[in-house]
């Protein structure tokens, strides 16, 4: 069986055996270790007095697609480069597949990396770029050629061997960079904002392709991005970072629905912060609004809710159901598939609410500034945020 696989990828000499096995989809073979595939403990990094990474704890499972998400300068790249061994951490341990790699130079770790700039070698053909990590000593040319062909097939650019990077579009260049990183069948794939230099359409297309490729190869992947939509669309789990610290780790749905703190709530998607006074285990009052909540409220006297714009519903003008209220339209932005409506509602602090109504929900009805709307927030969408830090 194993031999058949080797024949299939034709890479006995070029690729280390375990990697070849995984490449062929056989990554379930020997996995008894209870430890995570990549485990980071208490990782810290300072630049002078500035703390770039502060006690990072992270465990990545084998075959997982993990996304590091956060605002510019939060330390995503620093973390990725520490994993790659390109910028050494000051403290902390990194264990990869049971091996402590904390102090190892990059060449002794086992990963492939793709940068935002692609970093393709401009003077080498596509084939030479992809084969760059394969040409060691007397490795067989035929095998290398075969491997390059295979990789180009994999990224959807067969037949481009003889071209130079400058002859390719940005998206194509990024695919070649990916092929180059994957050609040596690394155990870990690191991507630093791989899509941010592309235009919007290409970005969406390529992110689907990368994710499909990753699922197919089963290679453990860590990607850095500051685009939350990209993170939500691609990740198995998202790590939200701010100022060198991890704020929350979780599946995209959980991060979006149950943000762990104000920063995460604010950073992922739009939202309205409602401050209310607890009046019962399931009831809170904010200004003129009496709200029933789905989950039981914590004991504290004030509760804070984070309401997503799409969770605000439009009701019939005379509807008197629970959690309904009137709102004055201040502004309406039509954005194609949906409209964003800014409303004044009788909340405690009088801060305007932002609601999002999908266009087919509105059925072509137009919402004008000054109009009075009957709105509601379903009880199950009122989840109290933890206390502000």
């Amino acid at each position: 069986m194993a031999e058949a696989l080797f024949d299939q990828v034709g890479s006995e000499e070029v690729i280390p055996a375990p990697a070849a096995r995984r490449l062929a989809g056989g990554f379930t073979v020997d996995r008894e270790l209870p430890m995570a595939h990549l485990e980071i403990t208490q990782l810290s990094k300072r630049y002078g007095a500035f703390v770039a990474l502060d006690g990072i704890e992270l465990a990545v499972d084998e075959g997982e697609f993990l996304v590091l998400l956060g605002p510019s300068g939060c330390g995503k790249t620093t973390l990725l480069r520490a994993i790659a061994g390109l910028d050494r951490q000051d403290e902390g341990r990194i264990v990869h597949a049971g091996r402590d790699i904390s102090r190892l130079p990059p060449g002794q770790r086992d990963y492939g990396i793709v940068f935002q700039s692609y970093a393709l070698f401009p003077n080498l053909s596509v084939a030479d770029n992809v084969a760059y990590g394969l040409q060691h000593g007397r490795s067989d040319r035929r095998l290398i050629r075969q491997r390059v062909e295979e990789m180009l097939e994999l990224v959807g650019l067969p037949g481009t061997q003889a071209k130079y990077p400058a002859q390719l579009s940005g998206g194509q260049q990024q695919r070649i960079a990916l092929a180059r990183a994957l050609a040596t069948a690394p155990d870990l794939l690191l991507l630093d904002e791989p899509l941010s230099a592309l235009d919007a359409i290409e970005r969406v297309r390529l992110r689907g392709e990368i994710r499909a490729l990753q699922t197919r190869l089963g290679v453990t992947t860590i990607m850095v991005t500051h685009d939350q939509e990209e993170a939500l669309a691609m990740a198995d789990r998202i790590v939200v970072m701010q100022r060198g610290r991890i704020q929350q780790i979780g599946a995209p749905r959980d991060i979006y629905r149950q943000p762990g703190n104000d920063f995460v709530a604010d950073f992922i998607g739009r939202g309205n912060l409602l401050v209310a006074e607890r009046v019962g285990p399931h009831h809170a009052r904010s200004g003129d609004l009496l709200l029933r909540t789905g989950a039981e409220l914590p004991a504290a006297s004030t509760a804070r809710f984070y309401v997503r714009p799409e969770d605000i519903r439009l009701h019939d003008t005379l509807d008197q159901g629970e959690n309904t209220f009137y709102g004055h339209v201040l502004k309406c932005e039509f954005l194609g598939p949906y409209s964003l409506v800014t409303l004044r509602a009788p909340t405690a602090d009088g801060r305007p609410l932002v609601a999002q109504f999908s266009s087919n929900y509105l059925c072509g009805r137009e919402i004008r500034p000054g109009a009075l709307l009957r709105l509601g927030i379903p009880a199950e969408h009122l989840q109290a945020l933890p206390e502000a830090a």
Partner: protein, 562 residues
Amino acid sequence: MILSLPLRWCADGERLPGRLLLVAAAALALFLVLPLLALLIGSVRDDEGAFSLLRFAEFAATPGMATAAWNTLWVAALVTALTVPLAFLYAYAIQRACLPLRGLWRLIGLSALLGPSLVGAIAFIQWFGTQGVLKAWLGGASVYGPVGIVMATVYAAFPHALMILVVALATADGRLYEAADALGASRWRRFRTVTLPAAKYGLISAALVVFAYSVSEFGIPKVIGGNFPVLAVEVYVQVVGQHNFGRGAIVALLLLLPVLFAFAIDTWVQRRQQASLTARAVPYQPRPDRRRDLPLLLYCLLLATAMLGVLGMAMYTSLVRFWPYNLELTLDHYIYGLAEAGVLAAWQNSLKIAALTALIGTPLVFFTAWLLERTPARPAALATAVRAMAALPMGVPGLVLGIGYILFFNSPDNPLNGLYHTLTIMVVATVVHFYTPCHLTAVTALKSLDREFEAVSASLKVSRFVTLWRVTLPVCLPAVLEIARYLFINAMTTVSALVFLYSSETLPAAVAILNLDEAGELGPAAAMATLIVLTSALISLVYSLLTHLLLRRHQAWRNFQR
């Protein structure tokens, strides 16, 4: 073994760049810093070697020194005030007007670089000297003195200023001009509010370079200066004429200070420039405009004629029997003046020095810049030290370096004493003397590569030395060739450092001109200058062909670059 490069990725490869950088640092310290220190120390010691400021007192008391210092300063100021506007307008015409044959104007503008600075001095003597055809133009003033010095120095410094200003005017943001046009700004206002501010740093830089050039140039005042005393000639007289190294050191130090000062200012100014051109700038494309182009074309024509007149006169002098009495064309100056007199060996020496300087200097400069820019060579303090040493030669006049070399290598205590007077030390001195511009060229080229090439190689387990060979070097090839050409031509034409280091066997061509002139042999001197100019021109031509062919044949990928 330090120098066996690991080709497959290995842990040792991590420490190797640091060690190699240490070697580079040691070399620069030995051949740049220590000689300068020897100069400093030499100036504060008396004849017994004890500390004393005696030499300074002695120097201050020497009659005529104050005059020489003052002359040096005002001549340099005047040269700067003339050269920079002349070069600016010329550069403006090349870059911002629609002139026919732009390449030709540029070539002629830079032509003075092909020969030693003495070419101008010789030619101006022929045009305006006692027997000069245009003597009347000076209205009774003698060319032997400040007038000749200023004219010849302006001629020699012009291309240095032009190079800087052409670059400064090349990188204009077209959007600003469109904005100015849209606002209906007048021609003059547009020039004042858009062009000048954008070229400000280039102008400052050019002014400082020309000033430093004039202060440290001594071949010109030596040949055309008559009895007009300037500091640079004073150094030469003290050291070469009277073997008074101590006094020479003092004067050299005096020259070093203003030049170092000028370059310190320049470095500071350039650092502030970074942000002036954003990545989104649109290159400015001049549109034809008669009212601007015609006067500028006339201006270029005038200046180009003058420059060709200077170069041509030097060449013509080498071909006529005896200017201006016997204008019969002859090769006598070459045959009897140079070959038979045994001076032609000087030309061969220069060829050797220039070839060696290019062959040794280019890899040295490029590799050191690579270690600095593309490897994590630790410790950081070492990299900082090497950067500082690489920037230093720009602020050290050649003759200061030369005297430093004498004091350091000629000292009987120095184990490297044997190097003195050899071709080796002359090559080393030349590499060091022209190190900074080459270093800057290499650094610029290396910086323009993607930051992550080395990181990618490491992830693919490919040694950084393999990546240097397979990627970095091929991509930087134009810069490497440019460095080689620059080193060759400057080694061919330089006088200042070498004049203190040669022996009768290693006499270089440019110094031979000085000696021939001193002996009153203007014809052979002109012949030697012509030989140098022709050699440099030939090398430039070969360089152009080589780059063209090489880039065409082996670097197909460049054709696709956008």
